[in-house]
């Protein structure tokens, strides 16, 4: 019979090792899943985890997929650390894309180097404003931010539907519910900067966000306040942390980052606003944040791993005829395993003989 004994401090070694363990466990369980679907498990794991690393094209796609995930996850991690749960990044991502995209389309067909920065600002503001709704409601009325931010995802999805079949619909688009293509509008597009690398402005922003977040979390008073609040809200209050400010700041940062991620996605890889534009990056980013241990560098690595499963998953759909949904099962399992092995970093396992008291 085993017992769990709380560690005074979580083990640094296990904190680093457990995400790797979780990935391995997911691979094994995923193998069983594919076997159950009648596919060769070894082949499936190879297609998903190895093949994308071997080809230059898919390698460059990894940064493209990882950029929005990492950008959003970096923002979310600050809130999560402080116990502020922004679950609605998907909504902030959508609103960022809509508001930034709308600004760009408003200037159509004017060209100018100022346009994309303006759109990025508008995108950040859109995501920021959307995240401020749960923040202000929580500060003013104590409303649960989890439920509000999540409900706002559905509102944003519907709002997107209304926009692309109304004000933002492409006037030359035969009434299809989609906006003009940003890729055909040079100043408003977010192109690949170095051919063959997949690097676009969003990727550069992502690198900047990782570095800035690292500095904030380790060297800045805000990072100290976030960490302190996460460990002991009461102690944080005595240390002079204003919890309301922290709610507004963390939700605001994550909203703005998600908004910018949305803008760079819609002007770059996605190309235009359609109802199919949101593919759940805002939700997957939650897994990325946890897989990365809410640490900027960890999130960067976790984002790459998650991007790998996306690209490998697409490959598996094509090569093995595995349904798209198998990948979300995969990602869900990854989070499950991660949470399960977490016990090792916070608790020590003791084997004890069963005693009668």
């Amino acid at each position: 019979m085993f017992q769990l004994e709380l560690r005074p401090n979580s083990s640094a070694l296990w904190t680093a090792v457990t995400p790797v363990l979780a990935v391995i466990a997911t691979m094994i369980a995923g193998g069983f899943l594919f076997a159950a679907l009648g596919k060769d498990p070894v082949e499936a794991i190879r297609v998903i985890f190895l093949d994308p690393l071997l080809q230059p094209y898919t390698r460059s796609q990894m940064l493209v997929k990882a950029a929005p995930l990492i950008l959003i996850a970096i923002g979310l991690s600050m809130g999560f650390k402080a116990g502020i749960w922004n679950i609605g990044a998907e909504g902030q991502f959508i609103m960022g894309a809509i508001s930034g995209g709308a600004v760009g389309l408003a200037f159509y067909p004017t060209q100018g180097a100022w346009l994309l920065p303006l759109m990025a600002t508008a995108g950040a503001l859109g995501g920021f404003a959307w995240a401020m709704i749960p923040a202000l409601l929580k500060i003013k009325y104590g409303t649960n931010e989890i439920l509000v931010s999540l409900m706002l995802v559905y509102v944003a999805t519907n709002f997107l539907g209304g926009m692309v079949s109304g004000p933002l619909r492409n006037p030359e688009g035969h009434n299809f519910p989609e906006s003009r293509s940003f890729q055909d509008y040079a100043s408003a597009s977010n192109p690949e900067l170095f051919s063959g690398t997949g690097i676009h402005y969003g990727v550069l922003l992502m690198f900047a966000a990782v570095i800035v977040a690292y500095i904030i979390m380790n060297r800045h008073i805000l990072g100290f306040q976030i960490n302190l609040t996460g460990q002991s809200p009461r102690a944080a209050r005595f240390a002079g942390v204003n919890p309301n400010v922290l709610i507004a700041v963390t939700l605001g940062i994550s909203g703005a980052l998600a908004g910018m991620a949305g803008l760079f996605e819609v002007t770059g890889p996605a190309g235009k606003l359609t109802t199919n534009f949101p593919v759940g990056y805002g939700f997957t980013a939650i897994i990325v944040a946890f897989l990365g241990r809410l640490h900027p560098v960890g999130i960067f690595l976790a984002g790459l791993v998650m991007a790998l499963t996306y690209i490998g998953g697409e490959g598996a759909q094509f090569v093995l005829r595995v349904p798209a949904a198998a990948i979300s099962v995969f990602q869900g399992m990854l989070l499950f395993f991660l949470l399960a092995v977490d016990v090792l970093s916070n608790y020590r396992i003791r084997w004890v003989r069963k005693e009668h008291s």
């Binding site: 409303t143 439920l147 509102v155 519907n158 709002f159 939700f283 979300s328 399992m333 499950f336 949470l339």
Partner: protein, 306 residues
Amino acid sequence: MDLSSINPVVLIASIMVASTPILLAGIGELVVEKAGVLNLGVEGMMITGAIFGFAVSVETGSPWLGLLGAMFGGALISLTFGILTQYLLSNQVATGLALTMFGLGLSALMGQRYTGTKPPSFPKLDIQVLKDIPYIGRMLLSHDYMVYISLLLVAAVWYFLKFTKGGLILRAVGENHAAAHALGYKVVRIRILAIMFGGACAGLGGAYLSLIRVPQWTEGMTAGAGWIALALVVFASWRPWRVILGAYLFGGVTVLQLNLQAVGVNIPVAYLSMTPYLVTIIVLVFISGARTSAPASLGRVFHASH
């Protein structure tokens, strides 16, 4: 636009049907939260129940077996949440989210074979005498059995929590798990059972969607109903009867906006479809002003240290 074409009798009848899935999931989650566990995976358990129920009922041809299958599926997937949070002491918020993601993926995977299939139809309360009562008959007394079962379930939960020893223990575990443990109650075991009950109820709610209300299988068909069920519990201030009130209110908003869409109100469909979610937010804001009556140990990790 012609608002007079909305028939109030039909409107109320359809509100009852629209509210039943969230009522079922909501009452299940209420029990879970009364035991001090916050399971954010309702959406995942509902959709799992939806596909389990659908698959079983298509394969066996029996809608009742389908409902059983849905309860089994919901309880089974909630057990993963239970093991993770109760034995491996994981964070309940994160684990609930994982459960939702996993459930959405798993159901989509399982459901591929069933898109476009029609499930066997579900029996209705078909008593001629009751049906012939003017207005009331069509409005309240001619629904499928599940509508009434869901109401009975709320009554049963209310009775259980208020008048039985088991209910008292469950509430004690939710209010103060350390004290309950000291008294010798098996906190973890009780919570696991509550979680599985919640899973079974959510599964039933999901199956109500796929087998009765819609009735067919589409990927992601719960569309946030599980999250609304979570909001319902807050709205109800953890009191069983108020879950009915809340569920019928949310169901009412959903049906009303669908009706407005149907009669062609001059507002784009997309904006009307937002209303249930917006109303949920507004209600949450109003509720959060009131004195909180949440179980004191809600969402806290229990670890019996010696």
